[in-house]
């Protein structure tokens, strides 16, 4: 006699099947595996129902292009993309996040790539999405991520003669030499 308070794995699976969002994510993940192979993706997560996969930067352009052409789920709307900086992750310091949306089936996908800060090159998406133009310029401006093949990769929001990339974590928001304010109570 099974303990009724402990859900069996089967029951959990049925719950996942009943949830439409989880079902859609499963469908999308199946499609990703089928199109690009299971080894292309690592760290498959669903934080707050948003399917998130990590892939390699060598594959990212193919994956986004393949999903744009795909007729089954039609993930052909680039919602946004942004850079990230995790200084303590060795050889994976910089990251780029792409969010795709299928306006027909209402499925979202978040794709992440990580790469070393010494080699901050990613393939450009401007050949697939016109909207990637300014987003990649923004990522270059703030994180120094270089989109290879971008038609006009210059700073967008900051002044042109700025010689650093301000959203990287080594640039503290406040003057680090001040001694009258400790970080004990006020912020990181």
């Amino acid at each position: 006699m099974a303990d009724p308070t402990v859900e069996s794995p089967d029951a959990q699976e049925t719950a996942a099947e009943l949830d439409p969002a989880a079902q859609k994510n499963k469908q999308l993940l199946d499609l990703l595996y089928r199109l690009f192979g299971q080894d292309a993706f690592t760290d498959v997560e669903e934080p707050y129902g948003f399917l998130t996969v990590t892939t390699a930067r060598e594959r990212i352009h193919d994956i986004i292009a393949g999903l744009q052409q795909d007729q089954e789920l039609q993930l052909n709307f680039l919602t946004t993309m942004c850079g990230m900086h995790w200084p303590e992750r060795k050889d994976q310091e910089l990251g780029m996040v792409y969010m795709l949306h299928s306006l027909v089936h209402n499925i979202r996908l978040r794709l992440k790539i990580f790469f070393p800060i010494g080699d901050p090159h990613v393939p450009t998406m401007t050949d697939l999405y016109s909207t990637a133009n300014w987003m990649e310029r923004e990522a270059f401006d703030f994180f120094g991520i270089i989109a290879v093949g971008h038609p006009n990769l210059i700073r967008i929001l900051n002044v042109e003669d700025m010689d650093y990339h301000p959203m990287r974590k080594q640039y503290a928001l406040e003057d680090g030499t001040r001694e009258d304010k400790t970080d004990l109570f006020f912020g990181r």
Binding site: P47, Y48, F50, T52, N76, F77, L78, T79, T80, C82, M84, H85, V97, M99, L103, N106, R108, R110, Y129, S130, T131, N133, W134, M135, E138, F142, R155, I156, L157, N158, V159, P166, M167, L173, E174, F185, G187, R188
Partner: protein
């Protein structure tokens, strides 16, 4: 009589010049400059017709635009960087200053993002109150946009009438939150206070008086020959290009795509209300104007339904770790004092996680991508700002048009400098 004194003569000169233009842009049918020299024109950064600080360096062939280079970032305030050092409740004022024509939507969108991260469920009454405020904000946003479009086509009267109505909405904001433009409205977990009877009274009075003004405005513009000649077929974009450029909101719907976050991913009980999503066909300036007008009517419908069915009950969630206790309790009650201290000093850590939440802002999908590493502040916060994303299509939309068409296209896109530059 000189040859160009007659209509016939002018036409002849035009035809000859058209034949002689070798390497001009195909969409630039102009003959003003017989040497085919282009003029560089700096539109902006500060120009009364651009309604905000951004520059366009245009190459003009006579009155036609051949190419343009937009420069943005004049009021960049590094919100994403500042947010990495601030506790969640201190980020709300930053969101005010993005699309300052509809700051309550930004505020509520941010609160909902944090609530999603924390797993807080907001009571129904607070959700309905938020819907009322968000729809009021949408109306004021669209009023500004359409009123300014009228000004840019030479009709100042409509704008003045609409500003009068916006003032009344701002008085409602003032009654609800104490602020008018940058509202800092609501809190993580609900609203900071309930609607006062005066607020409800003002809202009801406005709901009664506004439709007449709006009808008058529509009567003045919608079928006005002069206005239509200025805006029909001006600054159009196809649905396909609009999607490729990441358009959302009224600008995308004017091109014929019925994407609305309120319907596709309902938040804050939008599924409870009955409303329609207007769409255009051509994506030109006239369609954008008409879509915004119709959205104002639909927003009014939503407000009326929400006010009619406003549930009783608490106006904030039971989330003592993040929702400030009432001030009276802080002086009398030990737990309230402790929570007050901990919230203000930011000693309460948020859970680790990453969350994306989007709301239908005045201009489209306003998204918040929040990465939390478990501290008191976000590790990374990215704003998906609809203006920033669709403004890059501006050059493509105005090439081949005249300068005056470029001005009306710009104002009908409702580019808000604060949201553009963040």
């Amino acid at each position: 009589m000189a040859v160009n004194d007659t209509l016939e003569g002018t036409r002849k000169i035009v035809e000859e010049a058209e034949e002689q233009r070798p390497n001009l842009h195909p969409l630039a049918p102009t003959v003003n400059d017989f040497n085919q020299e282009l003029t560089t024109l700096n539109l902006g950064p500060t120009h009364p017709a651009t309604h905000g600080i951004f520059q366009n360096i245009l190459q003009m062939d006579g009155e036609r635009i051949v190419s343009g280079v937009p420069t943005i970032g004049y009021i960049h305030r590094a919100f994403e960087k500042i947010a990495e050092r601030r506790p969640f409740y201190q980020i709300t004022p930053l969101t005010d200053r993005m699309n300052y024509c509809s700051s309550p939507i930004n505020n509520m969108g941010w609160h909902m993002t944090v609530e999603k991260l924390l797993g807080v469920t907001v009571p129904k009454r607070a959700q309905y109150m938020r819907v009322i405020l968000m729809e009021l904000a949408r109306i004021t946003d669209h009023l500004i946009c359409n009123g300014i479009l009228g000004v840019d086509t030479g009709a100042f009267t409509g704008f003045l009438y609409l500003m009068d109505e916006r003032e009344k909405v701002y008085e409602i904001y003032e009654e609800v939150s104490g602020a008018r433009l940058t509202t800092n409205m609501g809190r993580v977990g609900g609203m900071e206070r309930d609607f006062t009877p005066v607020a409800i009274q003002k809202l009801r009075a406005w709901l009664k008086s506004f439709p007449a003004v709006m009808r008058e405005f529509e009567k003045m513009f919608n079928r006005n020959r002069i206005f239509m000649d200025r805006v029909v077929d001006v600054g159009g974009i196809s649905a396909e290009r609009a999607l490729n450029y990441g358009f959302t909101g009224p600008n995308l719907r004017a091109a014929g795509v019925d994407y609305d976050v309120r319907v596709m991913n309902p938040y804050s009980s939008y599924q409870d209300f009955d409303f329609e999503i207007p769409v255009g066909t051509k994506g030109d300036t006239y369609d954008r104007f008409m879509v915004r007008n119709e959205e104002i009517w639909q927003s009014l419908r939503i407000i009326e339904q929400a006010l009619e069915n406003l549930p009783e009950g608490p106006y904030h969630a039971d989330a003592p770790h993040f929702y400030l206790p009432p001030k009276q309790a802080v002086y009398k009650n030990m737990e309230a004092l402790i929570y007050h201290f901990k919230i203000i000093m930011g000693e309460i850590d948020a859970p680790v996680g990453e969350v994306y939440h989007s709301v239908e802002g005045g201009n489209g999908e306003l998204g918040f991508y929040l990465v939390s590493d478990g501290g008191r502040t976000p590790y990374r916060l990215h704003f998906r700002r609809p203006c920033f994303i669709y403004y890059q299509a501006y050059t493509e939309m105005v090439v081949g048009q005249t300068l005056s068409d470029a001005i009306v296209t710009l104002s009908s896109m409702n580019v808000i400098a604060g949201e553009l530059d963040a």
